[in-house]
């Protein structure tokens, strides 16, 4: 069954604006990871946040994790056209090693 669920399904923003997307999941996790897929390309790992972490930064990316609400958010600041892609959260549940993905959020950055 689907573990991660991204919201919104699609997001359109102007270049330079921030983009925020959320991920909710159902079971307890070891960690949560965000991936990006540009059109026609493979999944690229963006950031991993462990269950005992609350916030993590990587360049223009900021990820938060609230294990009490079983949710995470990904913020992309000062978006660029190259950020246009689908973004997936993947959870690593406790007692399971497999990554469980959601359906993704499609982000379009308009020039």
């Amino acid at each position: 069954s689907q573990q991660g669920e991204e919201d919104p399904q699609a997001l359109s923003i102007q270049e330079g604006e921030n983009a925020t997307m959320n991920c909710s999941y159902k079971t307890s996790i070891n960690n949560l990871q965000w991936y990006r897929q540009n059109s026609g390309r493979g999944l690229v790992h963006l950031i991993l946040i462990r269950s005992n972490e609350r916030e993590k930064h990587s360049g223009r990316l900021r990820v938060t994790l609230d294990t009490s609400k079983k949710s995470s958010s990904l913020l992309i600041t000062a978006s660029r056209a190259a950020d246009t892609a689908s973004y997936f959260c993947a959870t690593h549940p406790i007692n399971d090693y497999k990554l469980s993905f959601g359906a993704g959020t499609t982000v379009t950055v308009r020039a």
Binding site: G42, L43, V44, A90, H92, Y97, K98, F101, A103, G104
Partner: protein
């Protein structure tokens, strides 16, 4: 260093035909995974190899799907006979360490399979 590569990038076949997808993991990665994304839906786990052994194939949809990993190097995923609902993007990933240790998985660009 080469990443995970998948062949072909796109395949269009007729219902009932056979298709074989190939994945070359990053050299030295013992763990290899297959995932599938059906149009607009979530990316679903299919199976996991550790070297040449199938560690977990709980996600394989039915016996029309057969995965192999010869000598623990590249892997193939054969669909025979293909059905319309098999259409989607098939991703392969590899990792050096067992994913349960919280390590990163490296994904290939995927094979887009279209069954008509």
């Amino acid at each position: 260093e080469a990443g995970v590569t998948q062949f072909p990038s796109h395949s269009v076949i007729e219902k009932g035909q056979t298709v074989t997808l190939r994945c070359d993991p990053i050299s030295g990665h013992d763990n290899l995974y297959w995932y599938r994304r059906v149009m607009g839906k979530e990316i679903k786990f299919l199976l996991h190899f550790v070297k040449e052994s199938k560690q977990d194939e709980s996600g394989m949809p039915n016996n029309r799907f057969l995965a192999e990993r010869t000598g623990g190097t590249y892997s193939t995923l054969k669909v025979q006979p293909a059905e319309l609902e098999d259409s989607g993007v098939y991703f392969c990933a590899s990792s050096q360490l067992f994913l349960g240790s919280g390590t990163e998985a490296f994904f290939g660009q995927g094979t887009r399979l279209t069954v008509v």
